[in-house]
């Protein structure tokens, strides 16, 4: 999608530089925060099920841990690069700070395509990834979590490997574990639900009732499915979703009026969020090119797939009716597109706020795991909602007071908090 030459880390550094300038940070602080504290890149040789050996590249980047142990996902994606990981780690630092969670930011992954790996091969990748990083990870150091194309079972394999190597039970080592095996109820829904909690507050601010509001969503993975479900429970209608089609190697958008049926659609979706195109057509969905999700005549757009999706090239296709863009994915909007969207008066709920439900619930999971005492779902989601809503109101109030866009306000709050922590520790 898009022809802009895109590098997530360049975007992340641009956002940081702009914020640092606005905050008037001193040079050492800028230097410290615009790059990761630590980076690890390593190779993982893996014997495949057919007997051959393939070499995969693994990553772990700790951007900053001034406010607490690192926290960040592990993604399995064929296009993974160190720059994407750096950007994600940096965004995670800001995200935790914005939500006022006592954690730092990190990220990691393996450049691979799980579509073409057996479960045993994926398990071996997980175990090898942990082995390489055994001294760099831990509940007091850096805590991994699931991300794109990794899930609860991957986290459990990683935990098992970590505990085997350490010779002790350490449930707080990792989050996103299966419920009953150290996972938290509500974790699966957290990112999608958190996004809708924030969206609800944004609609209140705009004086738009959620009941009757319409939305179009990019992606139909975990985040998107739960966001759609809760949005519809609140009276909203989602008319279009899009996703990647592995077989055709293109993305498609699936449209239905008056609304998509999330339950039926989920039943024909694979575990990577790919909808079966033929079955969707049989269910009466209009199958459109992937980019069509962006040009729907709706009130709300929710990019909930990957980075770099709303670009200067496709931003003109956004209809005049759109009032809100809620960024479920990390970095879905390029800097150029962001400028245009701002000029059009669309309220953007930036990624570090909109999708922070996941890391917030990860934090809750880690707290529970460290105590080995688990909360009920009402408690998890109640705390999540209050945390998210408080953060939204903080950003909104700051944006209004300082006459900033929501994204700039969110970054300003977050970067200021991390910078202060570095100063308090006398790092700078």
């Amino acid at each position: 999608m898009g022809k802009e030459i895109f590098n997530s880390f360049v975007t992340a550094q641009f956002q940081f530089d702009r914020t640092a300038e606005w905050l008037g940070l001193d040079l050492p602080t800028r230097e410290l925060l615009r790059s990761p504290l630590k980076e690890h890149q390593f190779l993982i040789p893996l014997r495949m099920d057919d007997g051959s050996v393939r070499i995969f590249r693994g990553f772990r980047v700790l951007h900053n841990d001034a406010r607490g142990p690192g926290k960040g996902g592990v993604r399995f994606h064929p296009d993974e690069t160190i720059d994407t990981i750096r950007a994600l780690a940096m965004w995670m630092t800001w995200k935790c700070a914005l939500l006022d969670i006592p954690l730092g930011g990190s990220s990691g992954g393996v450049a691979c395509d799980p579509h073409y790996l057996t479960l045993r091969e994926q398990e071996q990748l997980c175990r090898s990834w942990v082995k390489r990083l055994i001294h760099e990870l831990g509940p007091q150091i850096d805590v991994p979590a699931p991300d794109i194309m990794t899930g609860a079972e991957h986290m459990l394999w990683m935990l098992d490997e970590y505990e085997s190597l350490r010779g002790e039970k350490v449930p707080g080592f990792i989050t996103g574990k299966p419920v009953g095996m150290g996972g938290s109820v509500g974790r699966i829904e957290a990112t999608g639900f958190g996004l809708v909690f924030i969206l609800r507050e944004a609609l209140k601010e705009l004086g738009m009732p959620a009941d009757g509001a319409t939305a179009s969503v990019q992606g139909f993975g975990n985040v998107a499915q739960h966001a759609v479900r809760l949005f519809e429970q609140m009276g909203g209608r989602v008319v279009c979703v899009s996703c990647w089609d592995q077989k055709d190697a293109v993305s498609y958008a699936y449209k239905k009026e008056p609304k998509i049926e999330v339950k039926a659609l989920a039943e024909i979706t694979d575990r990577f969020g790919g909808i079966d195109k033929d079955k969707a057509a049989r269910l009466g969905y209009e199958v459109l090119p992937g980019e069509a999700w962006l040009s729907q005549d709706v009130d709300i757009l929710i990019p909930a797939a990957v980075e770099n999706q709303i670009t200067e090239e496709n931003v003109p296709t956004i209809r005049p009716r759109v009032r809100v863009i809620a960024e479920g994915a990390n970095g879905p909007t390029t800097v150029g597109a962001d400028r245009t969207i701002g000029e059009r008066g669309i309220l953007v709920i930036p990624d570090i706020l909109a999708n922070a439900g996941g890391v917030t619930c990860s934090y809750f999971e880690q707290v529970q795991s460290n105590m080995n005492y688990y909360w009920e779902k009402d408690e998890v989601l109640g705390k999540l909602d209050v945390k998210m809503t408080t953060a939204f109101n903080d950003v909104l109030e700051f944006a209004k007071r300082k006459k900033l866009a929501m994204r700039n306000a969110a970054f300003a709050i977050a970067v200021a908090r991390v910078a202060q922590a570095c100063k308090d520790r006398r790092w700078v």
Binding site: F193, V196, D211, Q233, D378, E379, T389
Partner: protein, 583 residues
């Protein structure tokens, strides 16, 4: 037809500031707010514009701060947890309540509850407000649960947990057996029912580990049992110390006509007065509960005796004292002796214009709802001077009063085919479709077995309701009493298929009906005929004739007979005469 209310009065959305927000009456969700909340919403502005200023500064009148969880969230709760199969089954209440406790509240609700609980540390009442409650011929009084929670734990996690448990318990009570039986007696089905939940500040004052209002009350604008010079349209008011549970469930209260507030209730002797007035009161227990039990309605409610209230210093405006040496009641609590909760300083010495205010309030509610009404309220007094008082308006509900013209002559009360007659019958109209009679066997009746009798009646009632057979019910002692020694402690759901109820007084007790209770509200609103037959009355029950009728079912204490031709039952509401003829 019933009162036409707007589907959803305009309410502000809950903005996560319970006490400090601009709006004191808010909603969480976009659905219906249920009958109870609708009644309050309807009266909100009218109270403000027509009543509040009139009684300031002596009485501060308001609707205690509340937020309503609307019915759409109940729908989400039921569907996302897949609870309907279980809820509509015949499982025991505790199993249903337990399953509801394990279910998850909707994600869009819990954040608001969490925010509410974070800033509020005073007791909360979590009350039902069901959709069918706005069907005005079906009052649903006391059918669903109310849970009081102290909400004083240090940890917001603990307070949140108790609030969540209470909301789920109210949801579960939609499907309890009594509620299902009750709905079966209406034209609705349980599947039609949707529950909204009111979370409301409790009006009261804390004294150590007790929290309670100084006065709770139920006022009705129509009195089915006017005494002395009082007229039915004068209405009747019941007052009690502590939470209103004493009135609505126990039926123990100081009852008086608002036209004659200084008149005592009709007790035969002062000894009667002492035994029949309140000796205990309900309060919210702010300490450790006797047991942690989220599916028990009274988990945090406790009864205390009058000595506790006296220690709390609250009786001076509420009580008189019995002086044994000259067998007199003296006003106030200056002397030692048994206390009588008669509200004398307020009703007899006008410490507070409560009675005048209640009269105006009843009139205002009648005018607004276009029919006779029942209201519930709670009041706290300034503990040093009595005034100013805070009056919390808790509920308004229409009453049903039949206007069909029935006359019964003196001669009709006697004769060979009279099964029984009464000079104090409740209701108005004619019934000629009753073939079944369920009666407590007089020869087996003993107050020690009254709870077992209630249980047997419930089973027979269920059977008859299932087969859509309305029946005549005859028993000894008070119906609907909470005191097993005074009669049969049924709730209305346990006998809801009865269309005619006969109360044959126990020889050794007063025959006063407990009309202050919700039990009697249901009886009148469901147009159940109610006959009171005293032991010395001139028109006794013809037990001989009944015993000759063919028996359909029989348990230890109860018998069910079926007649070959229907009874003819008439009640004249203007004279309170009633008679039942058989062929």
């Amino acid at each position: 037809m019933g009162l036409i209310l707007p589907a959803r009065p305009s309410l502000a959305l809950f903005d996560r500031r319970f006490f400090t927000g601009k709006e004191k009456f808010t909603a969480i969700g976009g659905g219906d707010i249920g009958g109870k909340a609708q009644g309050l919403a309807l009266m909100r502005d009218i109270l403000e514009s027509r009543l509040v200023e009139r009684f300031r500064p002596q009485i501060e009148i308001n609707i205690p701060t509340l937020t309503v969880i609307t019915t759409d969230l109940f729908d989400v709760f039921m569907e996302q947890n897949g609870l309907y199969d279980l809820a509509l089954s015949s499982f025991r209440d505790d199993l249903i309540a337990g399953a509801f406790q394990k279910a998850d509240l909707p994600a869009q609700l819990v954040g608001d509850l969490r925010a509410l609980i974070t800033q509020v540390q005073t007791p909360l009442a979590v009350r039902s407000s069901s959709r069918l409650e706005d069907a005005m011929f079906e009052p649903f009084a006391s059918v669903y649960a109310t849970k009081m929670i102290p909400n004083n734990q240090m940890s917001p996690d603990s307070r949140f947990k108790k609030l969540v448990e209470a909301v789920k318990f109210i949801y579960a009570s939609t499907f309890f057996k009594d509620a299902k039986n009750y709905i079966r007696a209406t034209k609705h089905t349980t599947a039609d029912e949707k529950m909204a939940v009111i979370i409301q500040e409790v009006v009261g004052v804390r004294h150590g580990h007790r929290f309670y209002p100084h006065i709770s009350g139920v006022a009705r604008s129509y009195n089915f049992y006017p005494l002395g010079h009082a007229k039915p349209s004068d209405g009747i008011i019941d007052l009690a110390l502590g939470l209103g549970k004493a009135i609505v469930d126990d039926g123990i209260a100081w009852s008086y006509s608002p036209a004659y507030p200084r008149a005592n209730p009709p007790y035969n002797t002062l000894a009667d007065l002492l035994t029949q007035t309140q000796s205990e009161f309900w309060a919210i227990n702010m300490g450790w509960p006797a047991e942690f039990n989220p599916i028990k309605e009274t988990e945090y409610m406790m009864k205390f005796n009058l000595g506790d209230a006296e220690k709390d210093g609250v009786l001076q405006f509420l009580a008189s004292t019995y002086r044994a040496q000259d067998d007199k009641i003296v006003y106030g609590v200056a002397e030692k002796g048994p206390r009588v909760i008669d509200f004398a300083p307020i009703l007899k010495f006008d410490l507070l214009p409560l009675n005048a205010m209640l009269q105006e309030l009843l009139k205002l509610c009648e005018d607004t709802l276009g029919r006779t009404v029942e209201i519930e309220f709670a009041l706290t007094l300034d503990e040093r001077r009595g005034t100013p008082a805070r009056f919390g308006f808790l509920q308004v509900r229409p009453m049903v009063v039949s206007s069909a013209l029935v006359t019964i002559s003196e001669e009709e009360l006697t004769g060979e085919n009279v099964l029984l007659a009464s000079q104090s019958a409740l209701g108005n109209g004619v019934l000629d479709n009753i073939l079944d009679i369920v009666y407590v066997k007089p020869e087996k009746f003993n107050v020690h077995y009254s709870e077992a009798i209630a249980s047997e009646l419930e089973k027979l009632n269920h059977w008859l309701v299932t087969f859509d057979s309305p029946y005549l019910l005859i028993g000894l002692g008070r119906w609907g009493t909470s005191d097993p020694q005074a009669g049969i402690p049924v709730n209305f759901g346990q006998i809801c298929g009865a269309k005619v109820i006969i109360e044959s007084a126990l020889p050794e007790t007063s025959s006063m009906l407990s009309q202050g209770s919700h039990f009697f509200h249901n009886i009148t609103s469901f147009r159940v005929f109610y006959f009171s037959v005293g032991a010395e009355d001139p028109y006794p029950i013809d037990w001989g004739w009944i015993s000759r009728q063919p028996v359909i079912q029989e348990t230890d204490y109860v018998r069910h007979v079926r007649l070959s031709s229907p009874l003819k039952i008439k009640v004249d509401g203007t004279t309170s005469r009633g008679v039942i003829h058989h062929d």
